[in-house]
Each structure stands twice: as C-alpha cells, then as structure tokens.
Subunit: 242 residues, 2 copies
DNA sequence: GATTTTCATATGTCTTACAATTAGGATTTG
DNA sequence: CAAATCCTAATTGTAAGACATATGAAAATC
C-alpha cells in the first residue's frame, strides 16, 4: 500500500518544486537573483549539495541560469521562444522515438497542424517569407543533394510557411512538431521522381501564398500530405518485403 | 571576446549532455539501467556529487528515473504522453507568462490549432467523446459556477474535442497549447450572458460532431473564436478604463 | 586619474562520511 | 523440509567541510 503520487522523499525535488512554484506565481520575477546556495540551504534546512541538485533541476528546464563570481548567483531566466522551442523539440523527438509512432500518424498530425496556419500565412506572408520559401525550393532542386539535406530543407520550408502566419505562439508550437518529425522523415529515401513531385507541390504552395489564396494553399498542402503519406506507406511496404 | 556558444565549463552539464546523447542515439535503451553513480564518477573522472547533479538534470526532463536500494539505480525512463504533456504545459505556461503574449495572439493560435483537428474529430468521434462533451456543457450550465471552474470545464471540453481526433500526437501537441492558455483565460470574468452564448456555441460544436459534419464544426469553432476574442478585447478595454 | 592589485563572495568541484532503502541470500525456527 | 526472519551488500539520498575558480568591486599604486 504505497501509493503516493510522488514520493514525499527527494528533498532536492521538493525544493525545486518550491522554487518553481515561486516563479510561476510571480513571487520571483524574471531577472531576479535567488538567495545564494548557502542561504537557500539554511532556509530549507538542508545541505548545500542538496540545494545544488535542486538548482540543477531548474537549470535543466531553463528556469534559471547561474553565474559565478562575486555578483554571481542563480537568476530567474527569461524563457525565450528559442529555448522553449528547443526543449519542445527534445521532448517531442524522444516521445516519438520511444512510443513507436507510425509515420502515418505523425504525418497526419503534422499536416493537420500546418494546414491550421495556412489561412493566416496566406493572409500575412511578406515578401521575405516568399523569398525563404523559394530559396528552399531552389535547394531542394539541386541534383546530388543527399537525402538528409533534402529533408532538412523540407523542414526549413515548412518552418518558413509556419512563420509566415505571423503568430509567434503558433510558430513555437508547430515548429517543434515539424522538427521533431525530421528523424522519421529521414528514414525515407526520396527518389529523384518523388523529389520532383514534392518540389512541384512546394511550388504550388508558394504560388498560392504569393496570390494570398488561402483555399489554394490548403488544397496544395492537402495534396502534399496525401502524397507524403503514400510515399511513407510504399517505403515501409517495400522495406517489409525486401 | 568571450562568445562560446555554451561554456565548456560545467562538468555536470557536459555529463548530462553526454548521457542524453547516448539515450537519443539509442546506445541506452528504455528501461536499461545506467551504471551506478560511483561507476559513472569513475568513468567520467569526476566526483559523485557532480555525477548526481548531472543525473538530476536528466531526471528533471523525465529522461531517467532513480530507485534506491540494492538493485536500484538510474533507469532510462519511458517518456509517456502524460509526462511529455505535463512538461509541455509547464514550458508553454512559462513562455506565455514571461513574454507578455496578448490574449488575442494566444487565442488566435489556440483556435487555429483546434480547427486543425476539427475535421478529424468530426470523422472519428465516438459516443464516449460526445458524452464527455455533453457532460462538460452540463457543468458549464450550472448556475453559481465560479469563473475558474467554468474555465477548467472549458479546457476539458476542448481537450475532449481534440482527443476525438484520435491522433495521440495531435492530442499531445494541442492539449499542451490549450491548457497553457488557461491562466490567460482565467483573467477574464465571464458574465452570465457570455456564458450562455459560449454554452450555445459549445452545443453547436457538439451537435455538428454528432452529425459528423466537419464544415459545421469548423464554422462553430470559428464563431466561438470570434466571440472569445471580442470578449477578451472588451474585458481588456474595460480594465484599461476603469 | 588611470591602472594594477587585492579581496570578498559566489558558484564549481572534491572528499569523506553516514543514513535510508531494498533485494537477495543466510539463518533460524516451526 | 518449508517458511518466516534476519542480515548483508549495494545503491541512492543527504550532510559537512574544504579547496578551486571566476568575477566584480574596492583599495593601493603609479
């Protein structure tokens, strides 16, 4: 009969949670300096190593950053989109790799999310976004481009598409999802023929965005989704046989 | 001239990264036991406290779990959707609170994401999903329901809507986004009149899902988005005045 | 006044020790 | 012989103290 949602033990975890709560509740503001490790140790009535373990936990979540020296210490970190984004990619990548997600399910999720911002992108895309999209299409057209570079450019293309929506929250959420899928995408070998098709669809998307045509953008994305999922099925079927 | 993408210092961070890489690369499989802290200390030529700090970093990311006792140690954790989900909520919540995201931008992102899975939900919803949705509508209809409970039920409603899409990757991504917005939603006071309107729109959504009518689901969601954003604008405007 | 030196303070790391927990084997007991 | 008990070894959790190192600021010096 030991249920305990989370063991009451682990002082360092408790302390970390306590400080985390203080940050979430606004009792510790961004940029503010935490008490020194010795002071924290005294406050919580634990030893300094225990406090340090707690601080490392928070540092691993980018909640605090530490600085050495006379005026050093632990400071409440300003969580940037960049950092949050990286964390999300790490988590999502692990999740996908550990839960045997099928290519098909992941693909469906990815394109559903992307199509969510297609209307916004069509409405708000700037010339800079169009230029990025065209540049990636150019990269993808290079002959002798390795599969991984092709996939990376594909990710960059879709990242630009998402960014064109001009909503940073959306970009943060979607870019994480798209990038986490890259390892799965890398498993697919893109033949010359399939590349031509994908590039064609990418061009359709770019054209539709240029015209600010939301419906056409969505339709092109749908075609790309359908084609990508077919491709994935074929590759997996071939692998199962051969 | 001290650029250094990331300080070469911080042994515990290096060790954590090293182990993290091993897990990502598959050199350490799920469930596998890491060497004991003493052995790790020897392998990396550092002291045990340093190793422990590294392990705490990994534990904070749910990458490992530790167990005491004779056969204890650190084990590579199976990252569940649940854990990944919680992490994402924590990160997203912090991100939103620290970056002064406007209610409007967050709302736009949230509904864009939700509308992404509306067609899938309309297609795949089960009776159980419908029952959950109706139950939440019932909760929301209770008189004297505090604002926070109303918001919580709102989150649960949208969570059920997302789950109805039957894609766990999508659920993981979206539920995080929706729940992270709850603190922002809680800032809004819902009048009796606005509740009636929201409940009406929720009913429209449930009805459309029951009919498996994707277009109607999307249209209802769009109306709900529009109304919610109007409401947010009004509340903020009133707050600015009074 | 500008430069160098010193110093105080804080984190980073090591060492050693002990407490707590747990599995499995040894021992005792019925 | 079987079962319950105890013991032991291994491992994490925590503590205390020491030294190393970095860094900003004050003090001394030119």
């Amino acid at each position: 009969m030991k249920i305990m949602p989370s063991n009451p033990a682990d002082l360092s975890a408790q302390i970390a949670q306590s400080i985390r709560d203080a940050i979430l509740a606004g009792r510790l503001l961004v940029g503010e300096r935490l008490p020194s490790e010795s002071e924290l140790a005294e406050q919580f009535s634990v030893s300094r190593p225990t406090v340090r373990e707690a601080l490392k936990r928070l540092a691993a979540q980018n909640l605090i950053r530490t600085q050495r020296g006379a005026t050093g210490g632990a400071f409440v970190n300003h969580l940037s989109y960049e950092e949050a984004h990286n964390q999300q990619i790490t988590t999502s990548t692990l999740l996908l790799s550990m839960n045997a997600i099928s290519f098909d399910v992941a693909c469906e999720a990815r394109y559903a999310l992307e199509r969510a911002c297609a209307p916004l992108s069509a409405q708000r895309r700037t010339d800079a976004h169009l230029k990025s999209l065209r540049a990636e299409i150019g990269t993808q057209s290079e002959p002798d481009l390795p599969d991984e570079a092709f996939c990376a450019s594909d990710v960059a293309f879709h990242r630009a598409l998402v960014d064109a929506a001009g909503n940073p929250v959306l970009s943060y959420q979607l870019a994480g999802a798209v990038e986490a899928m890259q390892p799965l995408m890398n498993m697919i070998t893109f033949t010359a023929r399939s590349r031509v098709r994908i590039i064609g669809l990418h061009s359709q998307i770019a054209d539709a965005l240029e015209r600010s045509d939301a419906a056409a953008t969505d339709a092109s994305l749908l075609r790309l989704e359908s084609y990508t999922r077919d491709l994935g099925r074929d590759v997996l079927a071939a692998r199962a046989k051969g």
